[in-house]
């Protein structure tokens, strides 16, 4: 018995993977059904849905980028303090002192890439008519996810607390705050009060919006399966 077979035959291996290696048809089906990550997929899909020329892989890339952002984001949270006296200094430290000095770069460029990949994903779904029945509701969920992506990027833009970030956010939020009664004169004033803004954006960026996005992503993926695949009538 070879070492490989002995591992495959051990109690530990069999307790994790409940079927033999996916080399024949039966076990290729089982691997998808019995694995938490893989079971996001159906067992079999139409051949054209495999072609990158059809899907552009943009939905998958968006999901992947969300994971990259989550991981780099958690790592960044170890170094960053959302207060007026520390935020900018922590940025300098991240750039000059912290090892793995590309963390912030990966996080920032990944965020830009995610905005682009979400838009391209929507573009593909529209052009293939994949929002048509029975997928109307999943398109709505997708639009909500697009908005959340923009909000995630927007709230994150403020955190470096440099000239670029505060003025970009000022321009953006001033437009929203110009709304009569609810803006400068009303609740908008308190939500965006100078000293607290940084902390509020930080909590929104690191906890509130990602949780909501993760929830909606779960719904989005589940509905793809329930609606019978990525496109085409049922």
């Amino acid at each position: 018995m070879s070492l490989r077979d002995r591992i495959r035959d051990s109690q530990v291996y069999r307790s994790i993977f409940r079927h033999p290696a996916p080399v024949d048809r039966r076990n290729r089906v089982l691997v998808v059904v019995s694995n938490l990550v893989l079971h996001l997929h159906p067992v079999a899909i139409p051949k054209h849905a495999l072609r990158p020329g059809f899907t552009w892989c943009m939905g998958g890339i968006t999901c992947f980028l969300f994971l990259v952002e989550t991981i780099t984001g958690v790592l960044l949270m170890f170094y960053y303090r959302p207060t007026l006296e520390w935020a900018y200094n922590d940025m300098l430290a991240l750039r000059d002192v912290v090892s793995l000095g590309v963390l912030r770069e990966v996080h920032r460029w990944g965020a830009h890439a995610m905005v682009i990949s979400v838009m391209l994903h929507m573009y593909r779904v529209f052009l293939t008519g994949s929002y048509k029945p029975p997928r109307e509701f999943n398109w709505v969920v997708g639009v909500l996810l697009l908005l959340l992506t923009l909000l995630l990027s927007f709230t994150g833009y403020l955190l470096p607390w440099d000239q670029l970030s505060i003025w970009a956010i000022t321009v953006g939020s001033n437009m929203a705050r110009a709304v009569p009664l609810l803006g400068h004169e009303g609740p908008g004033q308190q939500i965006l009060a100078a000293g607290d803004t940084l902390n509020r954006f930080y909590v929104l960026h690191c906890v509130a919006i990602p949780l909501l996005a993760a929830l909606l992503m779960g719904l989005h993926f589940w509905r793809i399966r329930k609606d019978g695949g990525i496109s085409g009538p049922l």
């Binding site: 892989c57 990944g110 890439a113 000239q163 670029l164 970030s165 437009m175």
Partner: protein
């Protein structure tokens, strides 16, 4: 900005060389492909283009990258204005749409790519152009333009192919591949490769471009211009044409609502699950108009052409904060009362009651209010009887009216632009007393 011309050229020469070398490599690959496909003439053409790029690359590595002639730059800047840029892009996209059968041919599309690469390369030696385009936060926008071009071409060529098949009574190509494949191994491996490629691109990007970090935040020093993050710059650009809260609240809500409503407002059962233009020209046209022209193009204008005081600057023009800007500030009420009726805008006594004041405001703005009312109330049924008769019959009254109102709301944007350029019109309805300007 850069210290002096020489220093700037030295900094940019190396990256330019790599840029041209990549362009050369892409062309040589295309030439190889053409050779294998037994098309020697085409292979020769791409080979020649590749050699040209190689020469340009060699010059760049030598510290003397080829530059666009000054006369050429001046001509481009002179022609480029808000009107010509917007209308020109519209006409180009319209032309591409009409001639799509020609433009989706790989050779034609590839030639277009080469022209754009040459333009980018020659322009990057201009310090002003480079300062805007190579700004770290603007790199993704350049990438987005190329990705959009690639995917628009890819989808259009699939659509043209399908439309030809549909015309012959065949099913679209996607239906021919309807038989199932197992997710393991086919899809899982595609995803793995895709993930590795995406990680590689992200890592190379992160290692070569540093994330921007400017001076510490200082509320006392306002940069001129202050720009929103790039994906909201399109909305910021709208500030030129409308009020802040309309642009910052009403328009985003309308866009989000309109996008979510699309599946419920598209009664066409055809074109589900495959690329086609012929079976859904209306949906295709409206979406491309809204996405490419009103969303992406405004982002490009806001990012690349807006300078100090939100003035419009050519691509190579020095961003002079003292440039004199034309103001568009004639209200429709002023046109109506003063210029057309010749009797002056009605005034109201300051001590009049609030109801009287409100009535007066309405009377002052009567022309604009009527116009907007007619636009949103009378146009939908009119469209339903004339241009969009088929849709009206398919959709029923409620859905059609909602669709028409959303469509008309989207069209207010280009209409407002045209009115601004031709009549210097600031607002159709202007009621600053009630925070309401349209």
């Amino acid at each position: 900005m850069y210290g002096n011309e020489h220093e700037f050229l030295e900094r940019i020469a190396g990256p330019m060389g790599w840029f041209y070398l990549s362009a050369c490599a892409v062309n040589l690959l295309a030439a190889g492909r053409a050779l294998r496909g037994r098309r020697p003439q085409r292979a020769g053409a791409w080979g020649a283009v590749g050699l040209t790029f190689a020469v340009l690359g060699w010059r760049a590595f030598d510290g003397n990258p080829a530059a666009m002639p000054e006369a050429c730059k001046d001509a481009i800047d002179a022609v480029l204005g808000p009107v010509t840029f917007t209308l020109g892009s519209f006409l180009i996209l319209w032309g591409l749409y009409l001639g799509r059968r020609v433009f989706v041919r790989p050779a034609v599309a590839f030639a277009g790519l080469n022209v754009s690469l040459l333009f980018l390369g020659l322009s990057l030696t201009d310090a002003q152009f480079a300062a805007v385009v190579i700004q770290p936060d603007n790199v993704p926008i350049v990438a987005m333009v190329y990705l959009l071009a690639l995917f628009t071409w890819l989808s259009a060529s699939a659509a043209v192919k399908n439309d030809r098949r549909l015309g012959q009574g065949l099913a679209p190509a996607e239906k021919d591949q309807a038989e199932k494949a197992l997710v393991w191994p086919d899809l899982v491996y595609t995803e793995l490769i895709c993930m590795i490629l995406a990680s590689a691109v992200l890592l190379i990007w992160s290692l070569s471009v540093q994330a921007p970090l400017e001076q510490p935040a200082n509320p006392a020093v306002t940069p001129n211009p202050s720009k929103a993050p790039w994906y909201f710059v399109g909305l910021q650009e709208l500030l030129v044409f409308s009020d802040a809260w309309i642009v910052g609240v009403v328009v985003p809500c309308l866009i989000a609502f309109g996008l979510m409503a699309i599946p419920y407002l598209d009664p066409n059962p055809q074109g589900s699950g495959y690329y086609t233009i012929r079976q859904r020209p209306f949906a295709y046209g409206v979406f491309q108009f809204g996405f490419l022209l009103l969303w992406v193009l405004l982002i490009l204008v806001g990012t690349f052409m807006r300078g100090p005081n939100w003035g419009f600057f050519g691509l190579y023009e020095v961003r002079d904060p003292h440039k004199v800007l034309a103001l568009g500030n004639v209200k429709l009420s002023e046109y109506f009362w003063t210029i057309w009726l010749g009797r002056g805008v009605p005034q109201v006594a300051a001590d009049a009651g609030s109801l009287a004041q409100f009535g007066h405001i309405l009377w002052r703005e009567i022309a604009g209010v009527t116009l907007v009312g007619l636009y949103f109330v009378a146009l939908p049924p009119l469209l339903g009887r004339t241009l969009l008769r088929r849709l009206r019959a398919q959709m029923g009254f409620g859905r059609f009216t909602l669709m028409a109102v959303l469509l008309l709301a989207m069209m207010t944007l280009p209409l407002k632009m045209i009115l601004r350029w031709t009549m210097n019109l600031s607002y159709v309805v202007s009621m600053p007393e009630c925070f309401f300007n349209l």
